[in-house]
Amino acid sequence: MTTHTMPAPPNLSTSLRPLPWRRMGWVTWRQHRVALAGVGAVFGAAAVYLVVTGLPMHSAYAAVTACRPASSGACQQVAQNFVATYQHLVLVTAGLMQAIPVLIGAFVGAPLLAREFEAGTFRYAWTQGFRRTRWTIAKLALLAIVIAIAAAAFGALFSWYVQPVIGAGGGNSGPLSPTIFDLRGVALPAWTLAAFAIGALAGILIRRVIPAMFATIVVWVALAFLTGAYLRPHYEAPLVTHAANSPAGALVINQGLLRDGKPASLDMINQTLRAVDLQALTPTLFHPTGPSTLPNSEDPVQYLIQHGYTQVTTYQPASRFWTFQWIEGAWLLALSLLVLGTTIWRVRRAT
């Protein structure tokens, strides 16, 4: 068998190799440095706040861990005081910082393409020798990488910040609790990337900066809320315990009371509680109907357990934190890449 080599026909596409990607480095920096400075400022200000409020908290927590013997009443009191002092602060801080990813999506992602349309400059940018698809890919990729790295670094700092409150085992501040989970590990960069991607797609679809920013906020907040409320608790089949106290740091999904192996009805519970002048509004929410005769140190659930009820708790254990982080990180990354891919596809076909 003879091999026959044909000289390649002189062809425009071979003589015109695409311009090197690195040229977009300066372009992206020059056109988005204000937005990137904004990202730096937001993360920087939040980081300063975390360090300033975190340092006293860490020294207070050092006193908790240094207390010996740990099971003594005095040490329990120190730990309780610590949780009472800092848990609220940490949860409020975490709540405020939920806004950071979506702000980045709205202020960096949404204007990226929307401003080109609003100002008409896409007619300049997309008629240069650097093709529009590559121009879009380069900008999206560079900004996405920078934003994700910044978010990952901030997530590490936030992990340091919340560590004492998680360690002290306050009731609502386990590692899986909604406002803490998504500011740590791979979840924070993944949520930030998703916000950026949603912003970019909103920009090419809506082509106006302000409406695209609003759309980004609405879509991202809805996604984050639905994930925290409905999706994340089911990444793995939840565990069930009949213990009176749910395991430390667990994310409680559902709690109910059983009597004789069957779910206890509200009427049944109220009959039992009438003796101590309490009324159950739900199986976990109680309301005094008179001067409560319940002994001080006992809560109504304890009282019910003493009177033949069993508490059933469905929960996710704190030990699943990293599994859940990787699951959430993976699907958010896949979603972000899909959204960015759609954005590039829309740019190819635009106008």
Partner: protein, 305 residues
Amino acid sequence: MNIIEARGLGKRYGGSWALHECTLAIPAGHVVALVGPNGAGKTTLLNIAVGLSVPSAGAVTVIGGRPAGSPAALDAIAFVAQDTPLYKNLSVADLLRLTRNLNRGFDGEYANARLGELGIPRDRKAGDLSGGQQTQVALTLALARHPKLLVLDEPMAMLDPLARHDFMAAVMTAVADDGVSVVLSSHVLAELERVADYLVLLSSGSVQVAGEVEDLLASHRVLTGPASEADSCAERLNVVHARRGEAQAHLLVRINGATDALPHGWDSHQVSLEELTLAYLRAPGTAALPGPTRTATAVASEVAQ
């Protein structure tokens, strides 16, 4: 080589066609005036040619067969869009650097020299320049790429008469120095008349007239004669537009060289490009197209009125 070649080109926005069955072949080496009323499809045609828009039907090639929007086409076309959009927050120097990064061959020396001549400060933000200066900056960015085809969409809309003159002078210098082909669109023919040597007249989405200005002027005449003979005269000639008074009629006719004899008692005058264009715009049913597609449909309806 054709600088722009369109076959059966159509572009639909929603239910209506901005361009329809548009067929066109513009040879290289001309300054082409793309003229037509507002909404005729000039911007649509140019956007497709520079690769910003994708046609709904047909195809366009540029600079000798490169598909519009292809890398080879983007490389060789410079486009200055309507209202000359620039990044307003970038300095002139940054705009130069931006354009250099986004293109293969960018002649920074040329650009700096030109901006120096124009007295445009390089450290000024584009948004702080006057409309005329912004247009000149946009033109400089385009010319410094040394394109084979320069496309200018309504470039002079923002300019005062002096700036228009300077702008056209800059374009003509580039034509003389680089041999660049230029396509300029405008709905005001007067500003192109002195510079264009090729005319494309678009009307309601298709090409009505296309040809070298010299040929068009040579092949059209205004005939002036008694109004009573206008009808019989019109039957024998390709009348583009007829204007008649009490006694005299003025017929703008397209003549076929020697075969058309001038009727007795009629005077023949040269026609100006503006007169010619206006006549065709007033008679949307007529067309004057070059080559095999020549369709001398001097519709009599205009005359019969």
